[in-house]
């Protein structure tokens, strides 16, 4: 089995995506606090849910990215065989 190399660029990209998901989850939390008139303390008291949503968003994005990469690889192979 070949070694898998994760480049520094890849790591940085994944961290940025995870951070973006975290920010989006927090924005959703702020929206829900305003929408449902709940306490602002939920900004930190709901951290468990925020992290849950963060990883949910991250894995949803990962799914679409994997699908996108899969299609890209398939197209390249088709072009090579022609």
């Amino acid at each position: 089995m070949n070694d898998t190399v994760i480049t520094a660029k890849r790591k940085r990209t994944e961290w940025i995506i995870l951070l973006a998901c975290f920010i989006v989850a927090n924005m959703l939390n702020i929206y829900s606090i305003i929408q449902y008139k709940s306490s602002w303390t939920e900004l930190y008291r709901s951290m468990f849910y925020i992290l849950l949503i963060t990883f949910f968003l991250y894995f949803v994005m990962l799914f679409f990215r994997l699908v996108f990469w899969g299609i890209q690889i398939a197209i390249r192979r088709i072009k090579r065989t022609r």
């Binding site: 606090i33 709940s38 939920e42 949503i53």
Partner: protein, 441 residues
């Protein structure tokens, strides 16, 4: 207690201090009890509690030991004897029962130390006894209590007080004249769950109580094995109207006491219906009862008890406009529980929008299904006690103090008379108003 609302309780083997692995030791139990009983709201309405806990926690010393006589060593009597063994400063010096097998069981529980009697008057004639405990069939309570108070003894008597309201009144009067303690076995008055419930009620946590529903459902014939046919009535006395008022005095009186306590009042009137609809075995008391008690302010206690179905067990549901308390289950429920965090509401909302079916026409009526709220515990610590142990602690402590405390006997009186009036209402098939002459002055 007045009708103006001026004033207001499983066997446990877990209270022995020699059992360190148990969830709650006797000391823990006393501390928990003291914490609840010591709250301002409860100490105002139940004045005996704080004093009792302070005394019950005292270390044993030879100088202040209480000498007790015990009349009636049947199943309940032996249970109380078992509990008394764990109370410091309490010595059971004499026991009495006119049924030899029970007397022998009682003697064994005292380690063979107690002197035995078959006639309770001989026991009462002893001058070295501070107090007597009576756990005999209901029809014997009245005379035994009167005789015991006349003999200058402090008295603990199992519930219910007596078979007739007038007898209950005489017992209260005899207690007042003697200046001795008369405590009736309403153990829920010493049950932490119930104390917490009353604290919540007094604090207004469940709002105004507008209805109480109580029930006690069993599925058994309530019979004890009889070694010889001529002992049937002696052993199964609960089933015969000469000796008992059946479900009302044996079960309902406990729950009516809780309702009276919670509402701070006694009923204005009662109506009901009872029958024997399942156990056609020669019994004379009802095997099911259904009653409605009306309290001041139009508040009702809806009560039923049956012996042919146990799905719902027993409970007193104290229903207020802000919440419900079920003390037997150690739970309370709020009408409007705190909302879930905003983010959870948002996720639920999105989920409903995606997955819920779209109605073609709006419903004109939404089914008012029961709340699915799981509620909260009244008391966090798991205490496998129904209050009987603390009840024994309390009695011994009060005897040592030599002082009858206000409030407690009233609770028992109004509970028993309420049960007896309910029994009468069923027998006569009419609404019975509380007689003025039965209001304690």
């Amino acid at each position: 207690m007045t009708n103006n609302g001026k004033s207001a309780s499983g066997k446990s083997n877990d209270l022995n201090e020699n059992q360190p692995d148990n969830q709650v030791t006797r000391r823990d139990f006393l501390n928990a009890f003291a914490a609840v009983a010591g709250t301002t709201l409860l100490s105002a309405s139940l004045p005996w509690l704080t004093g009792v806990t302070a005394q019950a926690g005292q270390a044993a010393s030879p100088s202040n030991r209480v000498q007790l006589g015990f009349i009636g060593t049947g199943s309940r009597g032996c249970y109380l004897l078992e509990l008394l063994r764990r109370v410091p400063n309490a010595d059971v010096a004499a026991i009495c029962d006119n049924y030899p097998p029970n007397l022998q069981k009682g003697l064994e529980l005292t380690g063979g130390k107690a002197k035995t009697y078959t006639n309770y008057k001989d026991l009462l004639a002893r001058n070295d006894l501070d107090a007597v405990l009576i756990a005999t069939p209901l029809y014997e309570h009245f005379q035994m209590v009167i005789d015991a108070l006349a003999a200058g003894k402090h008295v603990f008597c199992e519930k219910s007080m007596a078979m007739l309201p007038e007898q209950c009144l005489q017992m209260v009067q005899a207690q007042k004249q003697s200046g001795k303690i008369l405590q009736i076995g309403h153990q829920r008055l010493f049950d932490i769950k119930f104390l917490r419930a009353m604290e919540m009620i007094r604090s207004g946590d469940i709002g105004k109580i507008t209805q109480v529903r109580a029930y006690w459902h069993r599925n058994n014939d309530w019979r004890r094995p009889v070694p010889s046919p001529d002992l049937e009535r002696k052993i199964n006395w609960r089933l015969y109207k000469e000796y008992s008022c059946g479900l009302m005095t044996e079960l309902a009186s406990h729950q009516i006491q809780v309702a009276n306590w919670a509402l701070g009042a006694f009923p204005e009137s009662v109506s009901g219906s009872g029958s024997i609809n399942y156990w056609h075995d020669g019994r004379e008391v009802y095997d099911n009862v259904n009653l409605v008690y009306r309290y001041p302010g139009g508040i009702h206690l809806i009560y039923d008890s049956l012996t042919s179905n146990k799905k719902y067990g027993l409970e007193e549901q104290l229903e207020g406009n802000k919440g419900t308390i079920e003390p037997e289950a150690n739970r309370f429920y709020l009408e409007n529980p705190p909302a879930a965090p905003g983010i959870v509401q948002l996720v639920n909302s999105i989920e409903h929008k995606i997955f819920d079916a779209v109605p073609i026409g709006g419903p004109s009526w939404v089914p008012e299904n029961p709340s699915e709220d799981k509620g909260h515990s009244l008391h966090d610590k798991v205490i496998n006690s129904d209050g009987s142990d603390m009840e024994m602690e309390a009695f011994v402590a009060m005897v040592r103090d030599g002082r009858a405390v206000p409030g407690h006997l009233e609770q028992a009186y109004y509970a028993t008379v309420s049960a007896l009036l309910g029994h009468q209402a069923m027998l006569e098939n009419r609404i019975i108003a509380w007689p003025k002459e039965l209001i304690l002055q």
